[in-house]
Symmetry: C3
């Protein structure tokens, strides 16, 4: 129980990680906008999870596909330090479970935030993020964690997604893909058939972001043990760290070989790729297994980023590759590297992650499509050129900044 | 006990939060000075709390109003894992309690630091901060937490201030008000009856600061349970997060409506306002209660900041509004939103918070006034124009910074 | 056990602290390089510790001087929540111990990274760091913590180095000294017998780094209790914080007196000096003892930095003074301030720390010397002038950064 609230605090810090990573990898004229969106997402995410999400996510009774929750009540009503839903008892109080799950909920919208950065209209994104986090995320999540149809897949063995490679990361990644397809690339990104890189404004901010995400992931994965069972928490910390580090080494090696230079952005993406890859299976693989999962994730993410750029899917922070593609990899790895012989199959895992990804994609195409057809989802070309900070907020990120560059 | 030291670590990180928030919201020519003050405050705060503060704060025996402590000795002398003062036994060791309380002590001076930024003379502030944190804070704190007169208020029901909306935040806020009144506004802030905004230099730094403060507040409030009782820690995490998020949403809505733009600074202040508001009552309100407390705090803080600017109280970071005004609101909310029927009254709460605020204000007027009359409290106009970094420290914040803005 | 994994997370964040501290104290044209090195070090550090380091560090059986380990296997094989090596049982699982120790391992290489910054050739440093962290660190560490000859020193009383003033910090500091001697100073640092300061590019980054290191040290020292024994964890938190704060105050006072200005860099180094000084003895000194240890460390570090600059040992971040010199001081302080009467002697302590320092120095001279004689260890003068970010990575730290300095 104590571990659960500490893990919630660690997952909370992931939101600062996302905010700084996304801000660092984008231009300084859009920094206030990025930061504002991340503040809004954590705020609306936690509030909406209390008002509707938690009781949608873990419904007392539903048909396996769809439920709508209500405002949380007195979650300590069970008394003592146990709490249960769906017939499963947990060694924690209801509030402890709520706050941990609430920190997860906002993550999906944050993943989208990075992909649509530097050209999305603020109001439209806020509406979309609210519906994604308040409605779509808990409904889809309930399929797996709330006693829904995914939990019963594969002949009772269920569908393995330990901490959310599918229901958090692939969910967010495929929602991001849908939004980017509707939104189109940033102006000047693809000119005359050529890819023109639009660089970020602060690699220290981006690096701070990835380290904070790495830190927070110890809570994300470690807390998903849902108890402080020492056997599993230590294992999960170890596999999580090894996969992240292996991902970094693989991305460094691949980028050095193919791009001729050891690329810091790719090293950072490699860490995240390894983390997303291990999220589904951190409690069932060996240390060597986690290293291999991380290495493969680190290779995948580099080529995936290059691929999406080639097909003109403009994702400023690589969110689709990191969360979507590596999320799928993590889910499949459950079947390949499981040392507990639980009988997870590639087919069962694939069905699960594709169902989640398709749900996120279709929801996003519909909702973001309606917004596009009505109030619009993209700022004007003039505002995009000037920057969203002035256009949307009337504020700059560095107004009184006067470095004395000698 | 374990939770207490972890909470102490979380509260520690609030000091980095204050440092980055204050640095971000001020001009880059004063950044070294801001950072230096925050390093000094945590250093002198913890040392002075060991030398005199702890045993002043929790005196073995005193008259209810005033005591002077001594250097802490062997706080493990009780043995085992319990510790007691004022007849109350705690499930922690003396050192555990000391380090948690020591992290709180420096907070009051940090609040003042932001309000007097960009024009206060360093040496004078260091003397003032030392006296505030080493003497005034523990004496006033002993009224409530040390078995003093405030604890006996309201017919034995005491005065409710769970984690310090009054004895930490309102205390710091009213000390800040006194200092700003003595110090006067920054040059160029109020010209010809008009308010000229003096902007900060880095919104990413400010945002990092607020996220770290939010994170640290889980320790500030959660640790104030003074045990890892699962029933309360989970509840306190939940109410703390909900109030912060509601505060952000309210400030966003109010600033969007009245200032026509969704303002990032106001969103950040809304988070802090909600956190200060919930600090007094996090363990006695319902989730819905905490949302309402946060929403109201988020509204209050915007109008309070505008109000103080109108009456020419120049507070660069909004500390008086966030900590002072919302501190009062949090104390009053104890009487309004208590679901435990403990009988706290608006009158009793108001007496308590005004007593604490008045003590901080009067102490500050006297001590800072004496400093003004003797060695001076304000740098020269030339130094203020050039920046305190060069004037006080002979250092710049960004000396070899050469961004390649394409 | 729970505390151990949380402490591991705190130690992890020290690596972000090192990354931001080193980046802040160096020029913006070398920032990507600094960040990349720190990402690489944590990645290779944890992976190599799994592949070879852990079982070298804690060998089942060796001659007291040298052992080579193998890949970690199923560290939960013991079952339950205990784990043992060298005949000592711990209240944690094998994975819990592994991840905590792995976070330590990378620290030694990170210390070197700062000292050789702004002119070291990336590939050579990566090879050196891999050998240092994968081979030298665990072999030397095994002398003390793995049941080797240092543990048996001083007539069975062993050699006291609680959390690693010698085996982590002095080890890293002396390795750094060897590397800097082989590498030579940065171009333009010592011209015509005069010392020309080469300033950093961001004091906020440096300050963030030191606060994160301070935070992480609670895990570094607190976790080294190797259990959540409340008596010791509370004491260790208290002595750690007091030493850090005393170090800051001493450095502020000394720099103000001798350099005429209160220097932020020195205040930050004072915090680190106090932390290194208390690392060897945090569990055996009194609060007053820890304050004195910190004060002396804060004085030492200022004069040590000035001394090394005088003899033209160019260490951009002061790593040799902070970790090497103050590491020695911390080891000696075990004999001077022990309140448990364990009989540690100055001579015994000195033998231990000199043995560790000499091993690190000799290993580094040989390995880094071979690299110098073969592939070279220093970038070309042209690359050094242009910056390593462009030269080694083809990336800039702040490419699209356009502050509007009014």
């Amino acid at each position: 129980m104590l571990w659960t609230v500490i893990a919630a605090a660690l997952v909370f810090i992931m939101h600062l990680g996302f905010a700084t990573l996304e801000a660092g990898l984008t231009q300084s004229k859009n920094t206030v906008n990025i930061l504002f969106k991340n503040v809004f997402i954590i705020a609306i995410g936690i509030i909406s999870y209390a008002v509707i999400g938690f009781n949608t996510h873990y419904p007392g009774d539903f048909n396996g596909w769809f439920s709508i929750g209500s405002m949380i009540g007195d979650l300590n009503a069970d008394g003592g330090d146990t709490f249960g839903y769906g017939g499963v008892g947990l060694a924690m109080t209801g509030y402890g479970d709520f706050i941990f799950q609430a920190m997860f909920a906002a993550t999906a919208a944050t993943i989208v935030s990075g992909a649509v950065a530097e050209r999305v209209k603020l109001g439209s994104f806020m509406i979309f993020a609210t519906l994604l986090v308040g409605l779509a995320y808990p409904v889809v999540g309930s399929w797996h964690w709330g006693g829904g149809w995914l939990g019963g897949l594969n002949g009772g063995n269920g569908f393995k997604d330990f901490a959310g490679s599918a229901v958090v990361h692939a969910f967010g990644g495929f929602a991001a893909l849908a939004c980017v397809m509707l939104l189109g690339p940033r102006a000047g990104k693809y000119v005359d058939g050529k890819i023109r890189p639009i660089l970020g404004h602060s690699m220290p901010l981006a690096t701070i972001g990835v380290f904070l995400l790495f830190l927070g992931w110890f809570g994300f994965n470690g807390g998903s043990v849902l108890s402080a069972d020492p056997t599993y928490v230590g294992l999960v910390f170890t596999t999580t760290a090894l996969a992240a580090c292996a991902g970094a080494l693989a991305s460094i090696f691949v980028s050095w070989t193919f791009l001729k230079k050891p690329d810091l952005s790719m090293a950072l993406n490699g860490i995240l790729a390894g983390l997303v890859g291990i999220t589904a299976n951190a409690d069932i693989v060996s240390p060597m297994g986690s290293i291999i999962i991380g290495l493969i994730a680190g290779v995948i993410v580099v080529f995936s980023i290059i691929f999406f750029d080639k097909i003109k899917i403009d994702d400023p922070v690589g969110a689709i590759s990191v969360h979507g593609v590596c999320g799928i990899w993590g889910i499949l790895a459950c079947a390949l590297f499981d040392v507990t012989d639980s009988g997870f199959t590639l087919v069962g895992q694939l069905i699960g992650v594709l169902a989640v990804g398709a749900a996120a994609f279709i929801f996003s195409i519909i909702v973001f499509g309606i917004l596009k057809a009505t109030i619009g989802i993209r700022v004007s070309p003039e505002e995009e050129a000037e920057g969203l900070d002035i256009g949307e907020h009337g504020q700059e990120a560095y107004p009184d900044f006067a470095p004395s560059s000698r």
